[in-house]
Amino acid sequence: MSKRIVHYINQFFAGIGGEEKADHKPEKRDGVVGPGMGLQKELGDAAQIVGTVICGDSYFNENLESCSATVLDMIKSYNPDIVVVGPGFNAGRYGMACGTVAKLVDENLGLPVVGGLYEENPGLEIYKRYGFFVHTANNAGGMRTAVPDMAKIVKKLAAGEEVTEGYVQKGLRVNYFAKDRGSKRAVDMLLKKIGGQEFETEYPMPAFDRVLPQPAVKDITKARIALVSSGGPVPKGNPDHIESSSASKYGKYSLKDITDFTAENGETAHGGYDPVYANLDLDRVLPVDVIKEMVAAGEIGSLHDYWYSTVGNGTAVSNAKKFANAIAQDLKADNVDCVILTST
């Protein structure tokens, strides 16, 4: 009998809608929906997608607890053998949802999970240990390769075979018997290192980019503060044409004549969330009204004359680092003491 698959996807891939439908509540449908069609084709008779669980990306992330329980119940109701999530490419909230579902299924049902995410999707780093995630392209154009890659793993699992490759390492330790004991291996490695020879570590360190916390600001009423955002707040009309996703630049905008954002003087350039609320009142993303009042009242020392904005939607980490370096130089030159960074 062929294995039973449940597929988790978001509102976009289910064809329900884009950002305006990102608050779509969880629902389940029998059989395949959206990318499940291609997946089923690849799987043939090896496994059958018996049900699809769909949820809006914002709804999932904003109602994590209640939504997790609902989605888990929906998945369970199909009595699956394997659960597939995504592929979510480089979509931040979708990636988090896929990862959360993987964790739920792994911990509560003990079933294998197969998914697909782009290497820089934050959901991958957090949740890779809970499923077999294949590397995908950063956008849905990569569906053609993502689906066969995922299907390959599903087929192996369905056949009861061990899966040893084709997915992002989970970071779990697997026991094995080594020929030499640890102390000998360590000394061998050390001798090679001293002798200038190549050696391979048995425990590579992860490349986390961490910075030490800055000391506390002693007195906010004397401090100079600056505003930075990855939520895309820009002057009305987006004068620098910051891209709605995969931003290649950031903008620097004067705060001199703005004491309060309105629908007339500000908007968001971000294409990864419903822009309606930000476009009506951009203070919801960048709190200029409150900050200016607090500066005037002496609750904050002073405000840097500009705000900096980019769009953190599928934006390459390497680009984000470049923006941050340039912005930080600017802020240092103006003796800024501290920064409020807002993200959507």
Partner: protein, 66 residues
């Protein structure tokens, strides 16, 4: 720096050291369901929380909850 954001796990992953959780993804510092005056008050509370975070010594990643 203080990071004001709604999806705290992402902020943790990217390495922010001072984190203030906010309202929702499309309006981290607001809530369109409230009256304008109440919404601004909510925003003021969050900004004050952020300033408090900046004025607090931390020795690792710290989330400043209510």
């Amino acid at each position: 720096m203080v990071h004001m954001c709604t999806i705290v796990p992402i902020s943790m992953t990217v390495g922010a050291n001072r984190i203030v959780p906010t309202v929702a993804i499309p309006y981290p510092l607001g809530n369109p369901a409230l009256e304008p005056a109440d919404e601004k008050e909510l925003r003021r509370k969050l900004v004050k929380k952020a300033l408090e975070a900046l004025a607090t010594e931390v020795h690792g990643q710290t989330v400043f909850k209510d």
